[in-house]
């Protein structure tokens, strides 16, 4: 790899910060997030296979959908 070319290519893809304005989150929402984190179903090493299988089923459903009219 030519170092100069590699450097040029890397400059083209450098991540630039978003210019969008930040969103203010309410304390009520953040407390709800903390409650969700603390639920038994979210304990360390909880089995979350159902999340991926649900998403897969949803994606498969969308992929098979056909327009009928």
């Amino acid at each position: 790899v030519d170092p100069a070319k590699a450097s040029e290519a890397a400059d083209r893809v450098a991540t630039v910060p978003s210019k969008a304005l930040p969103v203010a989150l309410s304390e009520r929402y953040l407390r709800a997030v903390s409650r969700l984190e603390a639920r038994p179903g979210n304990r360390p090493r909880a089995d979350k296979s159902w999340v991926e299988s649900t998403l897969r089923e949803f994606r498969d459903l969308i992929a098979r959908a056909k327009r009928v009219r």
């Binding site: 590699a6 893809v13 969103v23 953040l30 999340v51």
Partner: protein, 172 residues
Amino acid sequence: VTGPSRIAVLAAALEKAHVRYVLIGVAGANLWARSGATIFSTLDYDLLLPLDAANELRAWHTCRAMGLELSCGDEPLGAPLDSLLAEQVVSRRALVRATDTRGFDVDLSLIMAGFDFETVWAERRIFVVDDVEIRVARLRHIVESKAATGRDKDRLFLASHEDALRDLMRDE
């Protein structure tokens, strides 16, 4: 479709290669869900990696070994995948995308708005998917990062997520 999910296969390979990563973004938030009603559709997985060229390089080789194509910006990641290239990418905090071109897309990100890797790593949660441990950012870190980024799609996610958690906000 049977067999382990692609993200579980990738996570197992990353673990074997000693790659440090944390799953962030909507896919990370989904693993904190209580039910299908609080899962959000997303087409890609965002992995936050530390600013460590050797770790980045191991992640690339792991993805390639899985048959994933790597790109940076609109260009394929050149060959050879070596430490020089990894150092260039890490110094620019550039995002590298890994894809099987059939819908499994993984973004290898070096930036999470409002957070550095070590903070997120220190409070990561391990969840199990298809018998594989996956390192996931705290939900609070994910939503705070989305709030800090503030793009339209982040605003939409935050509004929908807040609505999905409304019952947890009710009994105060």
